[in-house]
């Protein structure tokens, strides 16, 4: 029964994504208006606080507020830099880590509502026959540092500086102001407020304009490129900071002679992590990996790529699974046309 409903890991992930989309986008409406105050407020996914129906808040808005309101202000009043400043930061990060410990970057690949929206758009793009734009091994390196820059500048530096009074208060949560999830998730709740650009100050306007332009770009780009925002998302870099501390891992064999000529896993990777095909062992679990598991699904050899938790295999590549998977969908994500064979014969019950 379960195998019929969830024949592949991809189908399981899709079901989880849709379920988590309801929690992160509509959780408050489904589970009660005050649910948002009671789960964690430190979720390692872009569950937007501007969404009035959300079931939980993303860690990044909490970080920005802490740095803005606590650390920045306290740095100005150095005598107040005490446990009351750092404990809240530590606790907030600690709560985040409790989640993260068990699922690692699966929050990106399985939970994040913006990730799900981009995947759905990509599927639509396949239906519409749009091309697939990919980063090749030569140019993918150019985009990868952007996520660290986003984290450093928008999530860490500017909120602290706003708290210190070095920059205006409008820069207290600058990432939220440019985050496409803010607009996407609020629009999904039929709330159009966030797509209207704030005009109260020049900085607000500039951030809003940038955020809207980015949102527009992402929703069109997602039709022809996989996970366009994920590549520069500071949540990806934030999660990458803790990636090695979780027992949930992507594990690849230390050496496998067929990998050099194959490369199917590279094609399957929505984040264009070419290292999954060219590297082995720990190096194959790249900082951009969202643990979506597609590389393991599309690896044609037994147990070369595995998802493990505390060393226990949760899912491993296999030839049989690969054969079944490619019949349904190409590694690039295009759904195969299903051919229904109708065999001639005498009609029954006539």
């Amino acid at each position: 029964m379960l195998k019929t409903i969830f024949p592949t890991l991809g189908r399981v992930r899709f079901a989880v994504q849709i379920l988590m989309m309801f929690v992160t986008v509509y959780g408050g409406a489904l589970l009660g208006s005050y649910t948002v105050n009671r789960i964690s407020q430190s979720l390692p996914a872009l569950s937007c606080a501007y969404d009035k129906m959300t079931g939980d808040h993303c860690i990044l808005i909490v970080n920005q507020h802490l740095l803005h309101h606590r650390v920045g202000e306290a740095l100005v009043k150095a005598q107040e830099v005490t446990l009351k400043v750092f404990i809240p930061v530590a606790v907030s990060v600690g709560v985040f880590f409790l989640f993260f410990f068990f699922l690692n970057k699966m929050f990106c690949g399985w939970v994040c509502p913006l990730g799900t929206v981009q995947e759905l758009l990509y599927r639509i793009g396949r239906r519409l026959g749009r091309p697939l734009n990919r980063f090749n091994p030569k140019n993918v390196g150019r985009v990868r540092p952007v996520k660290w820059l986003m984290l450093l500048v928008l999530v860490l530096a500017l909120p602290v500086m706003a708290g210190m009074g070095v920059v205006g208060n409008e820069l207290g949560d600058p990432f939220c102001q440019v985050c496409p999830s803010r607009i996407a998730t609020t629009l999904l709740t039929a709330d159009s407020e966030q797509i209207a650009v704030r005009t109260s100050t020049t900085v607000n306007f500039a951030l809003g304009a940038l955020g809207n332009a980015m949102f527009g770009f992402i929703i069109i780009a997602a039709l022809a490129a996989r996970q366009p925002f994920c590549r520069i998302c500071p949540m990806l870099s934030w999660n990458a900071l803790f990636q090695k501390l979780s027992p949930m891992r992507l594990v690849k064999k230390d050496a496998h002679e067929k990998c050099e000529k194959c490369g199917v896993c590279e094609k399957a990777c929505p984040m264009d992590i070419h290292e999954i095909g060219t590297q082995f062992g720990k190096k194959a679990f790249h900082e951009d990996c969202t643990l979506c598991g597609r590389c393991a699904e599309y690896c044609p050899d037994d147990d070369v790529i595995q998802i493990k938790f505390f060393g226990i295999k949760l899912f491993g590549s296999s030839r049989e699974y690969y054969k079944k998977r490619v019949k349904m969908e190409t590694p690039e994500g295009t759904q195969k046309k299903r051919v229904i064979e109708i065999k001639p014969g005498k009609p029954e019950n006539v």
Binding site: G28, G32, S33, Y34, T35, V36, N37, R38, I39, S40, Q41, S42, K52, V62, H65, H68, H69, R70, E73, K84, I87, P88, V91, S92, G94, V95, L98, G125, G129, R130, P131, A162, G163, N169, G172, I183, S192, E193, I195, A196, V197, R198, T199, S200, T201, G208, A209, L210, N212, A213, M214, F215, G216, F217, I219, I220, A221, L223, A224, A225
Partner: protein, 304 residues
């Protein structure tokens, strides 16, 4: 120690009280931190309504030492009833005695919602003023139980009250339950008055629910002075009060619920600009949608 206890403790400690600290004004559930605006409100007389109201006044240099004084207006009482959303806690219900500056409400360690009410009984008339005071977030408990607990004879109960990062705003509809002795009142008239001068009347439905439309009555040109500290740009706010009257057993009951509200969602926002920049971004991505020649050939070959 039980893992659940550790987890719960961690979750509570990570509340927005810590994350975005500072007690919010009782009259400003914006999720923001307009402390300068709170200070300006101190000492203002309530001249915009004759209904009994409660005013939460914040004082103190910073959010750690900030105190909340609950000041009754248009009602004379010796005590304020205070319910916390942790009803089973030892501070689940408290009687706050009036002092010179009002009844002082401590900020609980875990923050959360408080229901505050003043009850005045003179002869055959019972008057009640009520507000909700939220201390910026995670009290660990859903406040619905606190809201639904019967606290007085005639009650106006917000269902729901604006949560974190939300508040009453102009041009929005919010639901309230009107009930008497715990039973919903159908067809009950509820009056709305705002400090911006609006008045309206609403009638409860068969379940005692009344849908209140918050009037869009802020002056368009109103400018707020720049605020210091970490004020999020001097939020504009006004006060509203809902009141209803009911006679029973020879007594007349008047109950009011007051809160603050902000301008409509699109105040100081431009939808045209928003759509324009979104469109610009979309146009920027259009080249990605175009098929390259070699891909077209490959597609044709596949079709063939």
């Amino acid at each position: 120690m039980n893992l659940n206890v550790i987890l719960l403790g961690a979750l509570l400690a990570a509340s927005p009280v810590i994350a975005a600290p500072g007690g919010k004004p009782a009259t400003d559930m914006s999720g923001g931190h307009g402390h300068a605006a709170m200070m300006r409100d101190m000492g203002k007389a309530n001249s915009w309504t004759l209904y009994p109201t409660l005013k939460a006044r914040m004082s103190g240099e910073n959010r750690e030492t900030m105190k909340t004084a609950i000041v009754p207006q248009n009602i004379v009482v010796a005590n304020i009833d205070a319910w916390s959303n942790n009803l089973k806690d030892e501070n689940g219900y408290r009687l706050l005695s009036m002092d010179m500056g009002g009844a002082m409400l401590d900020k609980p360690a875990n923050g959360g919602f408080h229901w505050l009410a003043a009850r005045e009984e003179q002869g055959e008339t019972v008057r009640v003023a009520s507000i909700v005071q939220a201390f910026g977030g995670n009290g660990g408990k859903d406040p619905t139980g606190m809201f639904m607990r019967q606290k007085h004879e005639l009650e106006i109960i917000p269902l729901p009250f604006p949560r974190e990062h939300s508040r009453y705003r102009a041009n929005e509809d919010w639901k309230f339950l009107v009930r008497f002795n715990g039973q919903p009142l159908a067809g009950q008239k509820v009056q709305l008055e705002t400090s911006n001068g609006s008045m309206a009347e609403f009638v409860s439905d068969a379940e005692g629910m009344v849908k209140v439309h918050v009037p869009d009555d802020f002056a368009a040109e109103e400018e707020q002075p720049a605020a210091g500290g970490h004020n999020h740009g001097a939020r504009r706010a006004a006060d509203l009060v809902l009141a209803t009257e009911y006679a029973d057993g020879g007594k007349t009951y008047l109950t009011a619920f007051n809160s603050s509200y902000g301008p409509n969602a699109f105040d100081k926002r431009s939808m045209a600009m928003g759509l324009g920049f979104t469109l610009l971004g979309m146009l920027g991505a259009v080249p990605l949608l175009r098929k390259r020649k070699n891909e077209q050939k490959a597609g044709e070959a596949d079709n063939a």
